[in-house]
């Protein structure tokens, strides 16, 4: 067994040594393809950060006709809180609303001179759980609230919600299509590069078959080689993506994100980096397997 492994390692090493240029090309294609995917991933990741930030603003406000008593507030808060879509309920009293209004007006606050909190209604501010922060979720919640006559005066930003939904949908669709396309293109290119390395060794592959090598025996070192190349390519892609991130994205995204009130620009998390390396390995392995089918016919 140990002998077999050693023999296998020798064969892989020999292959790598024999065609360093093609080997480098294979690693290079994996690295470049995955760097592009990672770059794109980082952009999506950070845009998602923004949309998550924005989605916190998705609220439903129920204006109350009269100032409720403390026990009423408690009962209503509990009732709303029990609804499945709701993350948080905050009661905003007339005084509180008036204070906020004053603050918002800033230097113009003197306009309010002579008026008291009674000009503004008290309200329940309802924040939704993240999965419901869209048009459908808001719709459901509003429907539920309307069943209670106390919450008949509801506001939410219908038009904004529609646009937000469309934007998120577009982002997801674009991500799936573009990401899928990139992965497919990467697989295609990697498979073809590996096909070149196999083509360079077609005599060896043919003779191994003719002198009684089993399909497994012939293929294993090539599969291993492909996986290894993919692994190295994946590691390089993480490094490459980090380089691009530092050099290009950080500044570019910072401008965009700071406007949106996000101070921290994300790089791929450790699991995402590992996923990238795993994707490289899988790419190399699949690429070899696909090409080998054409070269090994026993």
């Amino acid at each position: 067994m140990l002998d077999r492994v050693r023999c296998l390692m020798r064969r892989v090493w020999r292959n790598l040594k024999q065609s360093p240029v093609l080997c480098t090309a294979a690693i290079g294609t994996v690295a470049v393809a995955l760097t592009i995917i990672a770059f794109f991933g980082i952009v999506v990741l950070n845009v998602q950060q923004v949309t998550r930030q924005w989605s916190q603003d998705i609220q439903v406000i129920a204006y109350l006709e009269q100032s409720p008593s403390a026990s009423q507030i408690q009962a209503w808060t509990a009732k709303i809180k029990a609804m499945p879509e709701v993350e948080k309920v905050v009661f905003v009293s007339r005084d509180e609303a008036f204070r906020r209004f004053q603050k918002r007006l800033g230097p113009d606050a003197e306009l309010l001179e002579g008026f008291g909190p009674e000009i503004l209604p008290a309200a329940m501010e309802i924040t939704l759980k993240p999965p419901y922060r869209n048009q459908a979720g808001v719709g459901e919640l509003v429907g539920r609230l309307r069943q209670d006559a106390n919450f008949s005066d509801l506001t939410y930003e219908q038009e904004w919600l529609t646009r937000f939904d469309a934007f998120i949908g577009l982002l997801k669709l674009g991500g799936v299509i573009f990401g899928g396309f990139l992965l497919f293109a990467a697989l295609f290119i990697v498979a073809n590069t590996i096909k070149l390395t196999l083509y360079a060794r077609r005599d060896e592959i043919e003779i191994m078959g003719l002198v009684g090598g089993s399909s497994m025996y012939i293929k294993t070192p090539f599969l291993l080689e492909g996986a290894l190349q993919g692994l190295v390519g994946g590691l390089l892609a993480v490094a490459g993506a980090f380089g691009l991130f530092q050099w290009l994205l950080k500044e570019g995204l910072a401008g965009f994100l700071l406007i949106s009130g996000i101070g921290h620009i994300l790089f791929l998390s450790l699991p995402q980096q590992l996923l990238l390396v795993a994707a490289g390995t899988a790419l190399g392995l699949l690429g070899s397997a696909a090409s080998l089918r054409k070269f090994v016919r026993i």
Binding site: D203, I207, M208, L210, V211, G213, S214, S215, R297, I298
Partner: protein, 221 residues
């Protein structure tokens, strides 16, 4: 024992390379396969080592029907057969030693065993002084002998040789025929495809004459 029963083979729909061949080759026989160019000699050899399948008929080797073999069993068939190819099929990037070691390595034999056997096989063909040369540093006759050493290193039951004396001079041809006779004397069935009539005259053995894919004559001179 090789039994070829009503075998036909065509590469394309409209042409046939072999037509209704029925041949028995007992164990330990020495047979020439002869006929004009395109008669189907190489094709018959390919059927015997499982590189092609007949379109009709059966081929049995020691009672095992190799036309029904699953592709995963073909390597086991080939380990019992030594093949000398017309174009040698030596790997130019490997030394002579490595080339001859190939069939044993593929079978996962132990390194010590491989060294001993390869050395013996090369000694047998008189090339043990050139272990570390590459094929392109050898003469045509030496390459041919290297190919024979590789075919014989695994002690095959059957030796298939396709034009093994193709463009070699008389002296080298003699040497090579001695190698085949030697292997045959040790019990290996030898099938040798050639269109060299002088060879058959010099070393008379059973002759299978193919003509446009048909067995025209089967005689022992």
């Amino acid at each position: 024992m090789i039994q070829i029963c009503n075998v036909s083979m065509s590469y394309q729909k409209d042409s046939t390379a072999l037509i209704d061949l029925t041949i028995r080759i007992p164990k330990g026989d020495f047979v020439y396969l002869t006929g004009a160019s395109g008669a189907g000699k190489s094709t018959l050899l390919k059927l015997l080592y499982g590189a092609e399948k007949p379109t009709r008929g059966q081929i049995l080797i020691d009672g095992q029907n190799i036309t029904r073999l699953r592709s995963s069993r073909i390597p086991h068939l080939r380990r019992r057969i030594g093949i000398v190819f017309q174009d040698f099929k030596l790997l130019n990037s490997r030394t002579l030693f490595e080339n001859v070691a190939f069939p044993l390595e593929v079978q996962g034999r132990k390194r010590f065993e491989i060294s001993t056997k390869v050395y013996q096989a090369l000694k047998h063909v008189g090339l043990h002084g050139k272990l570390h040369r590459f094929p392109l540093q050898l003469s045509g006759g030496e390459q041919q002998r290297a190919a024979i050493a590789r075919a014989l290193v695994g002690d095959p039951m059957i030796l298939l040789a396709d034009e093994p004396t193709g463009n070699l001079d008389d002296e080298v041809t003699q040497e090579i025929m001695e190698l085949f006779k030697g292997a045959n004397a040790r019990g290996t069935t030898v099938i040798l495809a050639t269109h060299n009539r002088d060879l058959i005259r010099q070393f008379p053995r059973r002759v299978l004459l193919l003509d446009k894919g048909r067995l025209k004559e089967d005689y022992t001179p």
